[in-house]
Symmetry: C2
Subunit: 226 residues, 2 copies
DNA sequence: CTTTTATTTTAGCCTCATCTAATTTTTATT
DNA sequence: AATAAAAATTAGATGAGGCTAAAATAAAAG
């Protein structure tokens, strides 16, 4: 059985790797807000338990077992976020910290009943995929908004790594998961984007904000879907 | 802010006092499953934080602040139990341990939204009162079943301190909160009780089981209510 | 009012998960 | 290849929160 701290370290490693970054000792330390020496010990413990392979200076790798464990935590975290937003009326910018606590509650039954209660959702309120009980996630065809060409019509599929402040900003601009718009223009000066929503409303998004917005193709006449 | 262990000790003290017992060091130790020496330290910490008054050999007393804190924990515990049973389909004998974990999640907003979501219930699945956000609980006129006279018609109001095994046993006999029955007879030999349910079905309950059943008066013609 | 027993406290040790500071190892630069 | 820089590890400390064993204190019994 993993301690809470072990779970947190495992999740940090998984998040780093999933984000395409390497999970070297220092990366984990930075993400955890602790010191490298502390991380050395925790990673050693996780390696002893067969959850990851240590490769000093090159970043740790998760084993299949480690990945499975991490996905269970991700599943719990995202199910709770979904519950908080959809059932309890939390804003999408208010759930992370609470879900961070809830995800450590140990009960397979709880997790599965919660998932069922929520209708086995495939995505959480930020558009992140919720692994099913076997760790499988739904594949999608997404790009970050800055990679979208002028004139393309897209639908917001996820806000990746969004801080609460970013989520609030997007909320104020009326941008949420499922929102469909066309990229009208891009400013050379600051790479900010000019968007036109389906309802004709124009809005501007900074390059920094846009980088967190992942979108999928929206067929020209389509309004909403999945 | 209280640590998890401090919260557990505070809750243990509160539970002992609420149950009419004294909360001496050894009582707390027994309830916590730890040693007296460990309890000495934790109680000292709680006393330092102004949550209780130490009175060695005579049992600690909660301060107003300590009682308020304890009631917040009780509220959270019972709200989660209610959620698990009413929304997630858990049995009333399966929720204690999970609620024990959930109650430590820190978020006023979560607690209050959960309560609202559940319809601000006044009682949990075992019939125990759920304190409101100010710590107030609904008063009731209850007696333990063994104190009920032959011929009296009563309604099950709560199962106090019921182990999972007892709850399962009661479930199998069809006894739950709100169940109405008449005490038909009492065996001198073992103090077991003969009951007749509203539907005419007879059943026997051991003195040991009956001691946990708290009941309120049921007017002769009434079938069910609150 | 002693003596015995129960209860509580103290003292010292242990494990965890963190830290700082020093050291070692690896990678990168010249 | 030598050296500088970065990253990782080790060593030793700390604070929680538990333990055991011994000592102190209060309550109960005679």
């Amino acid at each position: 059985m993993l301690t809470r701290s072990e779970e947190d370290h495992l999740k940090a490693v998984h998040a780093l790797l999933e984000g395409g970054a390497s999970a070297a000792n220092k990366d984990v330390a930075e993400r955890m807000g602790t010191k490298a020496s502390s991380v050395t010990m925790m990673l050693k413990k996780l390696a002893d338990k067969g959850l990851l392979k240590l490769e000093p200076y090159h970043g740790v790798k998760l084993t299949a077992k480690g990945r499975a464990e991490a996905l269970k935590l991700v599943r719990k975290h995202r199910l709770w976020e979904t519950f908080l937003v959809e059932r309890l009326g939390f804003g999408w910018d208010e759930v992370h910290e609470v879900a961070e606590q809830l995800e450590h509650v140990r009960s397979e039954k709880l997790t599965d009943h919660l998932a069922e209660y929520l209708g086995d959702p495939a995505f959480d309120p930020h558009g992140d995929p919720i692994p099913d009980r076997h760790g499988r996630i739904t594949a999608r065809n997404m790009r970050p908004l800055p990679a979208v060409g002028t004139g393309e019509r897209v639908r917001v599929a996820a806000v990746k790594d969004g801080s609460d402040a970013l989520l609030q900003l997007l909320g104020r601009k009326g941008i949420g998961i499922g929102k469909v718009f066309t990229v009208r223009d891009r400013q050379d000066f600051d790479q900010s984007l000019e968007l036109v929503a389906a309802d004709g409303i124009h809005l501007t998004l900074s390059a920094k904000a846009a980088a967190h917005l992942w979108v999928e193709p929206a067929s020209p006449r389509e309004r909403r879907a999945p």
